[in-house]
């Protein structure tokens, strides 16, 4: 059931268990909610969950102690009551970006409350199309008629019988038709996976409705939205629309504090709208490195080839800037001032029309200036860091900490990890394209990372693998001459656990300017696994990411090819 008055129906509770999924948007939403709970002294327990199994375990452990559960970025796209089997009094509040929302979750009035805006482009089928009270089989009603008819002479009774039989056949036919239509509607509804408004933004609006929003919460909402854009979960249109909505909040916050007479201290947090370059982490790196490792420039210049490198050198010469290999912070101020315009001018000549993107930046103190994308990359790198002795929950805590302003060293550490990650992605993309590792299987492209590839451990995690797939598909679409291959989706496999012999398989929709980011691989993987009885684990909250045994890989792929042809 959708919650209409988010403040009254959700917020007035005393003790709650927060189950949070492992992605940056969920972390930001969690921070906003924690800040609100601190304000109003609602006791809570925070548990990170990696997938459906973790969710089940956490629920079992905590169901004795808590009546209310809040699920962030998990639980909307599957029938929750069936999966978790809760008691009657347990109530779930779900704030999730995964769509389509399972119809049982939508139409359950008592135990499931969805914190999702109803105008969020949901397309939920109407109640009567899917559910109906089971009618008695025509038999009972006909027996009533028969008993009436028994007092009549036998000729008439036979006619009544025939009438009854006809009605029954008619009812059965209507029922079969209804069921066929129901299957069709559900199939269309559940076929494509996509994402809705960021959870952090939804919870920020809750804070705003209660007039308890602060700049910190606004900044977290911005990071949540930017995370969706960086990991390619929403369309460009939606991103721009949501940015405009957040921009109104930013102006409101900026105007209520600062005016001519009392300007804010330099240590206070200031958020500003920026029309900034699409170069990842460029303010914490040298400009040259950033250009070499950002998706947009990497794919446009085709930097894996020698020609591409030459073109890059031409571009840099055209820009006419010096000190490109120096750390950004040490570049001359004169150069930094006109940087964006100079780069935009030069990139227009080289076919990069939208090198600039609307985003937000924050600065507090004299030294600390960050863009939203920087923080997203840092938090994602911390969340999935593969260094030894760090369990999943340790990483969760570190990533959660790096979002606070008082933990800048954690944030800087995240930025360093993110740089390594981006460099690893760039090298892997270059090697995949140069060694022609991407093969067309017919209805989709397929690429498999081998065990000994450098940094392959990084790609056993979903967020890093998402970025790699996105960069790879974009670069491949630019580099291939085959017109058909340009519009194919990509399935990628990377080794997950060598001892158990599993790989992580992920599918992304085709690369296209006007793509609506709807992913059909979730259902396709399910069906392919069923039909070949491969040993798969559909544990991730995103249905398009699964684990598979290495031996079953080839038959799984064959089934997928047949399914999608």
């Amino acid at each position: 059931m959708f919650v209409t008055d988010i403040r009254k129906e959700f917020y007035d509770i005393v003790r709650v268990a927060l189950l949070v999924s492992l992605d940056v948007d969920a972390l930001c939403a969690c921070k906003v909610l924690q800040a609100l709970f601190h304000c109003d002294q609602v006791q809570y327990t925070l548990v990170p969950v990696k997938g459906w199994q973790d969710l089940g375990t956490a629920f079992l452990e905590h169901k004795e102690q808590f009546r209310y559960f809040v699920l962030i970025n998990c639980g909307a796209n599957v029938d929750l009551l069936e999966t978790l089997q809760p008691e009657e009094e347990t109530i779930f509040f779900i704030c999730d970006t995964h769509r389509p929302v399972d119809v049982v979750n939508v139409y359950n009035d008592t135990q499931i409350k969805l914190l999702i805006k109803q105008d969020d482009d949901l397309g939920v089928p109407s109640y009567d199309d899917i559910f109906r009270d089971d009618e008695e089989e025509g038999g009972d009603q006909d027996s009533g008629n028969e008993s009436d008819g028994s007092s009549e002479p036998s000729g008439k009774r036979r006619r009544f019988d025939e009438g009854a039989i006809e009605r029954r056949i008619e009812r059965q036919r209507a029922r079969r038709e209804w069921e066929a239509r129901r299957r069709e509607i559900l199939f269309d509804y559940e076929q494509y996976e996509y994402h809705g408004t960021a959870s952090a933004v939804v919870l920020f609006e809750l804070a705003w409705v209660m007039s308890k929003d602060t700049k910190d919460m606004l900044w977290w909402a911005i990071i949540g939205l930017t995370d969706q854009w960086v990991h390619d979960r929403i369309t460009h249109m939606k991103y721009v629309t949501d940015i405009a909505a957040l921009q109104r909040h930013v102006s409101r916050h900026n105007h209520c504090n600062e005016d001519e007479d009392n300007s804010l201290s330099i240590d206070c947090m200031r958020i500003c709208f920026e029309y900034d370059l699409r170069l990842s982490l460029y303010q914490h790196w040298s400009l040259y490195e950033s250009i070499c490792n950002s998706c947009y420039t990497l794919s446009t210049f085709k930097l894996w080839s020698i020609q591409g490198q030459k073109k890059l050198q031409e571009f840099l010469a055209d820009m006419g800037m010096s000190q490109l290999q120096q750390k950004f912070n040490s570049m001359d101020i004169a150069i930094k001032e006109n940087l964006r315009d100079v780069i935009e001018e030069s990139s227009n000549k080289y076919g990069m029309k939208d090198i600039r993107i609307q985003t937000f930046g924050v600065h507090f103190g004299f030294k600390n200036k960050f863009l939203a994308t920087d923080v997203v990359h840092a938090a994602a790198a911390l969340l999935e860091s593969v260094e030894k002795d760090e369990s999943g929950t340790d990483n969760f805590i570190k990533a959660l900490d790096c979002l606070s302003r008082s933990n800048l060293d954690q944030l800087h550490r995240g930025i360093e990890l993110a740089k390594k990650k981006l460099m690893a992605i760039q090298q892997t993309v270059a090697s995949c394209i140069c060694t022609h590792l991407i093969l067309s299987q017919g209805p989709f492209l397929y690429c498999c990372l081998m065990e000994g590839t450098p940094d392959v451990k990084l790609f056993s995690k979903p967020l890093a693998l998402t970025l790699l797939c996105k960069y790879l598909l974009k670069s491949f679409a630019r580099s291939t001459r085959n017109k058909r291959c340009k519009i194919l989706p990509l399935v990628m496999a990377a080794p997950l656990d060598v001892e158990k012999g599993t790989v992580i398989v992920m599918g992304i929709p085709p690369e296209c300017e006007t793509s609506d980011k709807k992913n059909f691989f979730g259902r396709a993987f399910e069906k392919a696994a069923e039909s070949t009885s491969s040993r798969t684990l559909h544990d991730n909250f995103d249905m398009s990411i699964i684990e598979l045994k290495m031996q079953d890989r080839s038959k799984f792929l064959d089934a997928l090819v047949t399914l999608l042809s």
């Binding site: 003790r15 924690q34 709970f37 601190h38 002294q41 609602v42 006791q43 809570y44 327990t45 925070l46 548990v47 990170p48 452990e61 905590h62 004795e64 102690q65 369990s391 929950t393 340790d394 969760f396 805590i397 900490d401 606070s404 008082s406 933990n407």
Partner: protein, 159 residues
């Protein structure tokens, strides 16, 4: 060490006609007095630390610490506990006031804590049970957490 021991030894020396020993006796006496002062200072410092233990750990000391205390010190500790308890009961009306809580003025009623190791289930005042698993975070009333923070099970998160 009483002064008359020294005088007694001096008198003995004089009476036996060995007055050249008197400086040695005086010197020895000074050394003994000095040693006595050192030992007393040490024992007094131990006492002060044992007193601080009551404020640090509460009324039950960990076995590791009890191992290093002698019987008299334990006795002293118990008596100190008793007099502190009597004093606390005399404050604050009916139930007394636990002055070992909140030694610094608290900033908030509830604090956010992070669990550093698996501690199992933990019960708070109104009967609700919290499961303390490694790396889970909780937002709980301050007085309930202080004990566990001192034991090192929970960590106060300041963000």
């Amino acid at each position: 060490m009483p002064r008359n021991c020294c005088l007694h030894s001096e008198n003995e020396a004089k009476s036996e006609g060995r007055s050249e020993l008197i400086p040695s006796i005086k010197f020895r006496h000074c050394c003994l007095l000095r040693n006595q002062r050192c030992v007393t200072a040490y024992l007094y410092d131990r006492l002060l630390r044992i007193r601080a233990l009551r404020w640090e750990y509460g009324s039950v000391l960990p076995a590791a610490i009890r191992f290093h205390m002698c019987a008299e010190e334990l006795e002293w500790f118990n008596q100190y506990k008793k007099s502190l308890a009597t004093y606390m009961r005399s404050l604050g009306g009916e139930e007394g006031l636990d002055i070992t809580q909140d030694r610094k003025p608290p900033k908030s009623l509830y604090i956010e804590v992070r669990c550093l190791k698996d501690h199992g289930e933990f019960e708070i005042d109104d009967g609700t049970i919290i499961l303390l698993k490694k790396n889970s975070q909780h937002f709980l009333p301050r007085w309930k957490c202080e004990q566990l923070i001192r034991q090192g099970v929970l960590e106060h998160v300041i963000s």
